[in-house]
Symmetry: C3
């Protein structure tokens, strides 16, 4: 089993996207491979402008407002999602966009951040990535 | 590690059930094995009539109403959950119902779609499925 | 691939924590290893007093109130989260607290149940656990 992580990024929640990118970038930094497959809420975030606005995070349900979270992140030097996804790409990570979800949600390739996406793929492509990965997550 | 996916279907959200079935059916189509373990919200959906009504999807949080999603799916020839779960069974997929969740939620075997369920199982059965699977997901 | 499960406990929802602990304790009982990495909502639950109060469960969205769930659990002799996490520790399970999340959420080690936590860790530690595990889940 290859030293690789394949993540389905299904949720658009800010805390979950952070978790996906922290894990993927951590794996890449330690010499593993990483693929992220955007679908539903995760795919929404790959739309132009989607990383910064996006759907409401659930983090405020933990009693912290979004504003508070952003302030704490700045103070702790936590990178923005944009910065983290750029790091992901530079470290060799692969972003796939699920084409079936694009159809269901009426999203065209032009709506998406084509600078980030490596491939518009079907479940077959996902399966080939996942079956060769030691670590698989649905986030 | 066998070419197999074992999925815990914990959520009853329509978009997550679709993801579970798309991945599982994709794996089966490519010659792998697939098991889905229904628990909590996923188990609710295995009740008689549960696939079509079920708990509110979170898809409308992405700005799309359920009605709109259904119209888009029809237009794109996306199969219904019922059709996808029938395909899953025909392709050799295995559906397990978590018996501990049945107790907690007061669900009896008669409440469930017995035509779909292969086994009423404990966590031990799940573990034997999962430990022999190359891909494991909690959805 | 070692007979081991590594779980990211990202959600603080009662039903998801139950699922994480049921799976982990099941694996431990069958002779496997198990690690749980607490982050975001899962980390909130590791605060002093967090296991019993914690964020609102989503279980009531299934039409069951929390009170009803608790009554059913008592009747079915389902253990409390506290009991299950004690079993997890006694069976040799390892609990890790994500230090980056601690920074973001302003949680210090003193706020946390230090009797439960084995290590305050970075994503590198998580990755070493996960890459050596046959089963990996994000819950």
């Amino acid at each position: 089993m290859a030293d690789k992580v394949t993540i389905v990024a299904h949720s658009g929640d800010m805390d979950k996207l952070y978790s996906a990118l922290i894990i993927a970038n951590g794996a890449l930094s330690m010499g593993a491979e990483a693929s992220i497959c955007g679908t539903f809420g995760g795919l929404e975030r790959l739309k132009k402008g989607g990383l910064e606005k996006g759907p409401l995070s659930k983090m405020h349900m933990l009693g912290l407002g979004k504003w508070m979270i952003r302030r704490r992140m700045r103070k702790q030097n936590v990178a923005s999602l944009e910065r983290m996804i750029q790091d992901f790409k530079e470290l060799g990570g692969k972003i796939l966009a699920c084409d079936m979800t694009m159809d269901i949600m009426g999203i065209s390739a032009e709506d998406l951040r084509q600078d980030l996406i490596e491939e518009y793929c079907s479940v077959g492509t996902y399966w080939m990535e996942a079956r060769g990965s030691g670590v698989t997550l649905f986030i």
